[in-house]
């Protein structure tokens, strides 16, 4: 007979090797190319910002959990993802203390207040950014031209979207960024030489990261495709340049890394499709009519609000039989 007490568990008694930290780690890996390129473009300042947001995100989570005497959860690495993503969607020149404050808000208010990993209804990193944008609108809309690793004082510029918003034509934008024509502007935007948030510059590198996550099965295609597709379609419908619109700002970055955030996107495929389309549409509407030149942050946050309802758009279950309504006895039958 067995020597000691047996483990009594409920089936299944076998588990996958894939764990939460592993998934988070793959997101971090997917973000490395974009981060490194960001540091290459904006230098030491960018590196410092990344470190500060990541560290304060982790520290906030750790300390908050200690405070409420709950289990420490920094081991799941999700705070690192949040901190890293926050840095990547902020202007490179954001003062470090603001970055720290945003990370604190993201982790404590947007995530831990709701119960931590998976329970937060709003994307923490985006909430952190929106908080900073509301609180310090001047600083969070101050952009710099890529200046490489040189420690030279960066000069303020406008982003391509801000230029367009101020009425510039695409050719002007091209000139502004030193491209010869619109075609080469597209190329330049795709490869990533322009002003903008720290991590969103190079569409190519963001795509590489995103495809890596797709290949690993960490994210699914529905959300990114519907976000980018609908942004493309609606810009075209509203008479804007669709290619320019998806190559600038955070559309691609948001589509792959932020709209796919597990906790805040709908779980069901149909819900995800509507979610993505909504993000694309809102992004374009805010860009065209709204008070901001760029709308991805708010578009995702607004669609986060709809997530509980989108989750009701469930897949038809196996062998679904539509419930038969008790048929009203027809008149003839009564006769």
């Amino acid at each position: 007979m067995p020597a000691k007490g047996m483990l009594l568990s409920s089936s299944p008694h076998s588990f996958t090797q894939i764990s939460t930290p592993r998934m988070m780690l793959s997101v971090i890996i997917a973000l490395i190319p974009a981060s490194v390129y960001g540091v290459y473009l904006y230098g030491f300042q960018a590196l410092a910002l990344i470190l500060v947001t990541v560290l304060s995100a982790v520290a906030s989570e750790y300390l908050f959990r200690k405070l409420i005497k709950a289990k420490t959860t920094i081991g799941d690495f999700s705070a690192i993802v949040t901190g890293l993503l926050l840095a990547l969607i902020l202007p490179p020149k954001t003062p470090l203390w603001m970055g720290a404050m945003g990370a604190f808000f993201a982790i404590v208010v947007a995530k831990e207040f709701f119960g931590g990993l998976g329970a937060n209804p709003f994307n923490p990193a985006l909430t952190g950014r929106a908080f900073l944008l509301m609180s310090f609108p001047a600083a969070i809309t101050t952009w710099t031209m890529p200046h490489g690793l040189a420690l030279a004082d960066a000069t303020s510029t406008a982003t391509p979207l801000a230029l367009v918003r101020q009425g510039a034509a695409l050719t002007d934008v091209a000139k502004y960024f030193g491209a010869s024509d619109v075609g080469s502007l597209y190329r330049q935007l795709f490869m990533g030489y322009r002003s903008g948030s720290l991590g969103e510059s190079s569409i190519l590198l963001v795509l590489i990261g995103g495809l890596f996550l797709l290949a690993l099965g960490v994210i699914q295609w529905i959300v990114p495709v519907s976000v980018i597709g609908s942004a493309f379609l609606f810009s075209w419908l509203l008479g804007m340049d669709p290619i320019f619109n998806i190559l600038t700002g955070g559309v691609v970055f948001g589509a792959f890394f932020m709209a796919t955030d597990y906790a805040t996107r709908p779980l069901t495929p149909a819900g995800q499709a509507v979610f993505g389309i909504g993000i694309g549409l809102l992004t374009v509407i805010i860009r065209k009519f709204g008070g901001f030149p760029e709308g991805v942050t708010y578009a995702i946050l607004i669609m986060n609000l709809a997530t509980p309802y989108l989750n009701k758009m469930r897949v038809k279950k196996y062998g679904f039989v539509p419930p038969v309504k008790p048929a009203k006895p027809s008149k003839e039958a009564v006769k």
């Binding site: 404050m101 208010v109 908080f131 509301m134 609180s135 310090f136 609108p137 600083a139």
Partner: protein, 207 residues
């Protein structure tokens, strides 16, 4: 006297309308982007509460039960209008910045609640203490919220610069979402306080 004092204290802490009873919230959040607004609203509210309660308590015997609600409304509305007129006449700035919220005192759940639950059943003195207690309870919470929001969000307290010059105001706090957040945290603090009080009371009982 002791019971009067207790009535007074009830409103300030134990049955604080905003924190404990969670009623009359709208004005509390809307006007607290600055301390002076908070004080103004608190006083206006206390005034209406005090006089409505007094009048209703005095007339409670002649008010027929079936018509009491409309009559209460009339009385409250009358006092609210007076406050509104007086503010418009002598404090135009304050009146403007509080906008529609002064007239809205009339539907403030606190007043109707107290009037029904207390004034229509009690005599003059307790009514005075109750309304003052409730009013004070309301006002201090308003000022507390306002102070927090104004200092962090604007760097000032009642219009006076209190934060060092290089302080960057965190605009979030004077914007509406900031109001909700601050109030949420305040209620949380209060629930904690309430639990503690309940615990210590129980401990007392046991002893």
């Amino acid at each position: 006297m002791k019971s009067l004092w207790k009535t007074f204290k009830q409103g300030i802490i134990y049955e604080n309308p905003l924190l404990m009873l969670m009623i009359g919230l709208c004005s509390a959040l809307a006007v607290t982007s600055s301390v002076s607004n908070g004080i103004g609203m608190g006083l206006a509210m206390t005034f209406v509460l005090l006089f409505s309660e007094i009048v209703i308590s005095l007339f409670r015997k002649v008010i027929p039960n079936s018509a009491r609600i409309p009559i209460f409304i009339i009385i409250i509305a009358a006092f609210t209008t007076m406050v509104d007129l007086v503010m418009k006449a002598y404090f135009p700035e304050l009146s403007k910045s509080m906008g529609v919220f002064i007239p809205l005192i009339v539907v403030n759940c606190i007043i109707m609640g107290r009037v029904e639950a207390f004034a229509s059943k009690q005599s003059f003195l307790p009514v005075v203490f109750d309304s003052l207690g409730m009013g004070l309870g309301y006002t201090w919470v308003l000022v507390a919220i306002a102070a927090f929001r104004e200092i962090l969000g604007n760097g000032t307290f009642a219009g006076i610069q209190v934060m060092p010059g290089n302080f960057q105001p965190i605009l979030f706090f004077i914007l509406p979402p900031g109001g909700f957040l601050v109030f949420g945290l305040l209620t949380s603090f209060n629930i904690w306080l309430k639990n503690r009080m309940a615990k210590s009371e129980k401990a007392k009982e046991r002893a």
